[in-house]
Symmetry: C2
Subunit: 574 residues, 2 copies
């Protein structure tokens, strides 16, 4: 077996992403129109049309399609008129938290309320309390608003961005489209290489989900990579440049304090956050306290002019299982709690980044400590990876931890791709990471008892049970892949109507047998278990009287024909 | 983006598996020699040689290589002489449980004790108590013994087998070799198509891990697929045929009782186990109790002649999230507990199969109930899948559930491949399923606090931190894939010595910075946090005195050269 066969992704950049129609056949982007004050909000969903005449509407982060009305090349700006009409609060404060605390349900809040199936007032309360973040820079009118908080659907973030060894603006824009198509709720542009400003501009103008960045990377470019030369002025200048472009949240490693660094001395893998290591080095070089910490209120003043949310970085997160939940990590978390309270004093929105690498038995402690230290601010972990031994599969090692931490109360999950620890992800890696994390987030939503999320599982399982193969594909997270896998063994069109699959063949299909028993029960007007038991006895007599076949002869012949067609096509394609 | 690019596996059967040396470069199968009574046991491990001169020995299920001494085409039979020397107990009983209860530590027990790092006496106690199963048909001398139980490493099973729409004996044998190479601890041959006897024979003779089957499939072939014509005589004849071939454990759906079937009437997906639906239909057709239940003691009598273990099938497992943990499922589980006690009366080994599809919040209940109902017999779940919406990715939806249920106390995890619900897995799907489940089992072992399992995480993380790229690949679950991913961005050989990767590039590597701080601390003889803090102050002065570079100039130049080499090769390959 050649190893090229064993890898999941082809080398090099991928061609442009598929259209919505190609990615999700039988789906359509619809808009739910909601009147809010003087505005009519157009809240998107994706409608999946099923072959039984019904449809299922699902949450959709993919952004407007060209045919939705905007001229080609001009991205729609659903938020522009809301932003223009709104008057800033005290000190030019335009944050959603500021409005929420003044009792205002903004258009953004009404919009996300429709997406989440709750009231605008509930959204307002959660934002006012700091339990939810609604990332919405006033300079990013392209955003379709979304909300991150423990009482809402679990969200996922996809990281994109180039590095010094690989760079292309078009490729990054394609990754954004690709990530949001498959379900990313926010995107972080982590570029560190060339064209950092232009890449971010292109990303923002083509992105209908909130965009996050780590401004430290660009600040460091401004001092030619010399960490010791960083200072608060350069940093604030960078923040303003990025806030003006429309970045919705900033990862800022203000919790890495001088006194924390020695706590990492016994670690197996030291400091693995790029921002964390930069600030640790700065602190060492100057033997002074982290300037992001000492000047934190100046940063808050800037954030509230634009409504950029904090994503307080966990610069001391563990980089391996051995370092999980250690003193350094939790000492920083306490500092992040302190900073959260300062930001909230300015009505600036805050979420808290989390680990990293954590064994399953120590995941819950992270959520509990975060809630305790940070007053319920949304938690935004990376993974966590539950073992270190599977580079190449860290989307899986971490989807396990992500699903669990999502269930335990996390608000947004930062994805990990198969390339983690090995290389820069390409578009296909981005897709693999997004799908793994949609699975984790959805599993968490179900475990939390979200009935709207469960509708999709039930619709798909019903389609599966009724042998509606097309519907099973269309309801899945990745219809083209589900179809391609089915085609590999049974490519004949007739197989898509068949009441069996290649796993069991036609004689061993448990669902076929169950379905038949059920139909009989329905025909007899039997619905509950007791009545079915009586029906079973009747059917037992019918079986014995009528010979061997469970199905009527027409049905048997039809299935045999489907099998024969499938088999002959199979032989034909060799 | 073309969807063929998006699928993880190529169509059609894969070529023959790689050799051990190609799959695991820098590894070697070694044997730990252990004297036990008159025998010298040769217990395998895989030794991973590292570039720092050390090595790590890991559990190895891959079986002997041809160069290990056996003539080509003649599989080694490590158990032959043990079996021949041993005298059966009462009534011809040769089960490991029988010997264990008589106080005998068999060669098999001593063998697995070495593999697990415990005493033979501990193994004996666990087997005697029914808390562990050591599957070891006396007609399968090719097996390298392994143990399944909650106080041992979590194991994984890979299902292989053809169906009516696809069939090739060679392909199935390749799947077995491929599955055990990547880490399957047992293999189940679920063939239902042609050549069912010959396929099983080929599998058994080429398989050094225990093999399980579902004998009902062949029994049904013997009555030409007419479920109503099944009876205990045909079934016992089939059991004997397969036991004579050497099958180590049988899935038998003896817990599907007539009274349970109506409990499935409100289910969304009815009965999804093939064996379960067959027995449900049989019960309906005859309106009689399941003959596997009523004749269970006759089955036990046969099993103990060979030491075939029961894997009591959960014929009423849920087939979707909506049906999880329902009355039908748990009613059957109680019956399985009753059957367990009967089997133990005969000293026949038992494990219990489990679901299926279960949301995360309801997984633990399954383990608790199983322990309660079945007296601690090893639990052997399929997955469970934690959501239904991702056909094409059910190795991931289920690895989440598998890791959790493993942590909660499960003994063996039955894998799920990406083709689940869509088609018959090929060799590449088998590999994807095995790797996902090795991740789940390993994460569970770590969460349970197994220090031997953790050694590998720590060794890999240490290699990562020290930029020993080759060691990082070699310690991983899938070295060729890890290497291929690294090569995609940085194919130059120099990049394998580089102190950075393509994710961050050379200027943003947190590990590089941390490593440097550490080296400094070591040079100064500083080890604890307090001393490091003092050292940091000194270093801070050194930084300010000595200019900007954290690294000495030689180091900087070396890294720049590696980057330049990587970049030029990158351009060269376009």
């Amino acid at each position: 077996m050649h190893e090229n066969d064993a890898t999941q992704t082809p080398g090099g950049p991928a061609p442009s992403p598929l259209s919505l129609a190609e990615s999700f056949p039988s789906s359509q982007r619809i808009y739910r129109e909601v009147v809010h004050g003087e505005c009519t909000l157009r809240v998107p969903e994706r409608r999946i049309h099923l072959t039984d005449g019904t449809a299922l509407d699902v949450y959709d982060s993919s952004g407007p399609e060209p045919e939705d009305g905007a001229p080609a090349g001009v991205p729609p700006q659903p938020r522009r008129e809301w932003i223009e009409r709104r008057s800033p609060g005290e000190g030019g404060n335009v944050t959603q938290m500021h409005y929420a605390r003044r009792g205002v349900v903004t258009e953004e809040m009404a919009f996300v309320a429709t997406r989440e199936g709750c009231s605008g007032e509930f959204v307002r309360e959660e934002v006012a309390a700091g339990r939810a973040v609604l990332p919405a820079n006033r300079r990013h009118p392209e955003t379709e608003p979304m909300i991150i908080g423990r009482n809402f659907l679990v969200k996922i973030n996809a990281n994109i961005g180039n590095s010094a060894v690989r760079s292309s603006i078009d490729e990054e824009v394609d990754k954004v489209r690709w990530a949001t198509r498959w379900g990313a709720d926010t995107v972080m542009d982590l570029s560190t290489g060339n064209d950092i400003h232009a890449t971010r501009e292109a990303v923002l103008r083509h992105c209908s989900v909130p965009v996050g960045t780590v401004p430290m990377y660009q600040a460091l470019e401004k001092v030619n990579g010399v960490i010791e030369e960083l200072d608060i002025e350069t940093f604030l200048e960078t923040l303003r440049e990025q806030a003006e472009q429309g970045v919705d949240y900033f990862t800022i490693h203000a919790g890495v304090l001088l006194r924390h660094v020695p706590l990492t001395s016994h670690r197996l893998t030291g400091i693995v956050s790029r921002g964390g290591s930069i600030m640790a080095k700065w602190c060492l070089a100057h033997h002074r306290e982290n300037f992001l910490y000492t000047h934190f209120e100046r940063i808050c003043e800037l954030m509230k002019e634009y409504d950029v949310a904090f994503s307080l970085g966990d610069g001391l997160r563990p980089g391996c299982i051995a370092d999980a939940n250690d003193e350094a990590q939790f000492a920083e978390l306490e500092t992040l709690g302190e900073l959260t309270r300062i930001a909230w004093k300015h009505d600036v929105q805050v979420m808290i980044e989390g680990p990293g690498h954590v064994p399953m038995d120590r995941i819950k402690e992270n959520v509990d400590k975060e809630v305790e230290c940070c007053g319920g601010a949304p938690f935004y972990p990376l993974g966590p990876l539950t073992t270190d031994i599977a580079p190449g599969y860290d989307h899986i090692t971490s989807a396990i931890g992500a699903a669990m931490i999502g269930w335990y109360g996390t608000s947004m999950l930062c994805y990990v791709t198969p390339k983690e620890h090995l290389g820069l992800p390409d578009a296909q890696d981005v897709k693999q990471g997004v799908i793994a994390y949609k699975i984790a987030a959805h599993a968490a939503n179900i475990a939390r008892g979200n009935t709207k999320a469960r509708e999709r599982d039930d619709a798909l399982s019903k389609a599966r049970f009724e042998f509606r193969w097309e519907d099973q594909f269309h309801l899945s997270l990745d219809p083209p892949t589900a179809r391609a896998y089915h085609d590999q063994t049974l490519p004949a069109p007739a197989a898509k109507q068949a009441q069996f699959c290649s796993m069991c063949g036609p004689h061993f299909c448990s669902m076929k047998i169950t379905e038949d028993v059920r139909r009989f029960a329905r025909e007899q007007g039997l619905e509950d278990g007791q009545a079915l038991a009586i029906g079973m006895q009747a059917k037992s007599e019918e079986f014995r009287a009528g010979g061997k076949a469970l199905y009527g002869s027409d049905r048997e012949e039809e299935q045999a024909a489907a099998l024969a067609a499938a088999e002959s096509e199979e032989l034909g394609t060799g």
